[in-house]
Amino acid sequence: MVKIGLEIHCQLTKLESKLFCPCKADYRSFEPNTNICPVCIGLPGSLPRLNQKAIEKGTLISLALNCKIPEKISFFRKNYFYPDLPKNYQITQFDAYGHTSIGNNGKITIEGKEIRITRIQLEEDPGRLIYEGTSEKNKITLVDYNRAGTPLVEVVTEPDFENPKQVRVFMNILVDLLENLGVSEPSLEGAVRADGNVSIEGGNKVEIKNVGSFHDLEKAVHFEITRQQSLVERGIPIELETRQWDDRRKITVSARSKEEEQDYRYFLEGDIPWILLDPKYVDQFKQNMPESIASKRDRYIEQFKIPAQVADVLSSDKFYSDLFELAHNEKNAKEVANIITTDLMGFVDTKEKRQQSKLTSKHLSDLANAIINNTITRNSSKSALQEIVKTGKSLNEIITELDLGHVSDEFELSAVIEKVINEESIAVKEIKEKPETVNFLVGKVMKKTKGKADPSLTLELLKKKLKIY
């Protein structure tokens, strides 16, 4: 039996400031060491000043993962020396004296499998190390502390995963959930990082660290299971160890064996009095909580009769579901959903494209209405959408400019049909024996009108002309 547990670190990128000081939470746009102050650089005499909003965000995540929220939370010091850690201890949470982390004992069900969440804790991110120099000899380490103190939430699961696929599904769900809650932007580089631990029947637990992107986590876990299984087959015992994920070679390698067992000397952080989580606040947070993905999905299916597959895709992505909610007016909901999932997702499939897109919810609403009212064919709507995304012009302007208006004028259409009948004499002859050939002719008409022809009117006129009923 394979057992896999995860520790996921997620930056609360939606916060304005760091966890313990007013420097910027999103350090990404700064020159090295320009987003620092006495607190996050750990100057002698400085003291942590806990961010109020971090408590709210941590609570939201805990609630979304069905965790219990304690009455009081406390902070601990995790003591270890490393150049990216300015105080040489990390302020984090730890359950030494009962449950005092922001969340505990949660669970989430993925594909029918229940994954237990052990604990959720708030903590500070360390700085970043940059290695310079070419040879071992002249190598030096440079430290940028801009990231130091960035608020993190760590989600710790029980070893409930049985295979790498469950890990992937869980990570996808978690990432969608974090985005949907408005606590993080998982697409930012380094915003979500995960470590795993893997054990197979009869073997010791092996930790995998340093998995840079959570997309690689599935691969790392898969590699590790295969490695452990092949050891067992050869009768070699599996050592209790920590292994690093080698991003380049896509394998795990043994971290240099530690001379001593890690001893973090956890103890209470006296600079931060325990925080009382009045149920009144927790209730308030609950009320402010965005609708969950599952609830959205169910509502889309029930209220708007949107097909399950479409609702799935739409609800799990905050960008699209927000757009959907703004654009639809109940009546056109199904059509709006349709446009988003069949066409729009292809046009704005990256973060950059989403940012560059000139599309507004009004465009989307107009477009859906135009399709419903037959002013534009579904076919032409795709071209219109592409143009809107590119230019941001109004739908009417685009219809005129690109001549996408629906050809529903009988006279105009009849002329085209006449032409097609003349050109496709062979098909016309076949039509007596094979009535479905009429569809071929409809296609020809559509082609000639660049997709603007109303398909049902075309069919009707064709049948009339060719006297088939």
């Binding site: 007013p22 420097c23 910027k24 102050c37 971090a54 440079l142 940028d144 240099r256 925080i275 989580l277």
Partner: protein, 88 residues
């Protein structure tokens, strides 16, 4: 009893080079022995009492840039990075 090995382990853990570990044995031993009186304090049933605060007491989530270019007041490398020894 406090052993030489234990002193060595702790000195390493605390990242302090100690030339003569033996001199610390006696001293730590004396202190630890003194601490053993805590066993007689009869505090097994005591609960932990701690300082508490409400959420209102906490800092508002607002970005306030530090008024100075702090890196220039630290040991720095070309005014941008902090240098650290190599990591093996």
């Amino acid at each position: 009893m406090v052993s030489k090995e234990e002193i060595e382990r702790v000195a390493k853990l605390m990242r302090i080079e100690v030339d003569d570990h033996v001199v610390h044995i006696d001293r730590v031993q004396k202190m630890i022995e003194y601490f053993d009186i805590l066993d007689k304090a009869g505090i097994e049933s005591e609960e932990l009492i701690v300082q508490e605060q409400t959420i209102e007491n906490l800092r508002e989530d607002k970005y306030v840039p530090y008024e100075e270019k702090l890196i220039e007041k630290l040991k720095n490398y070309k005014g941008t990075f902090v240098r650290a020894p190599k990591l093996i």
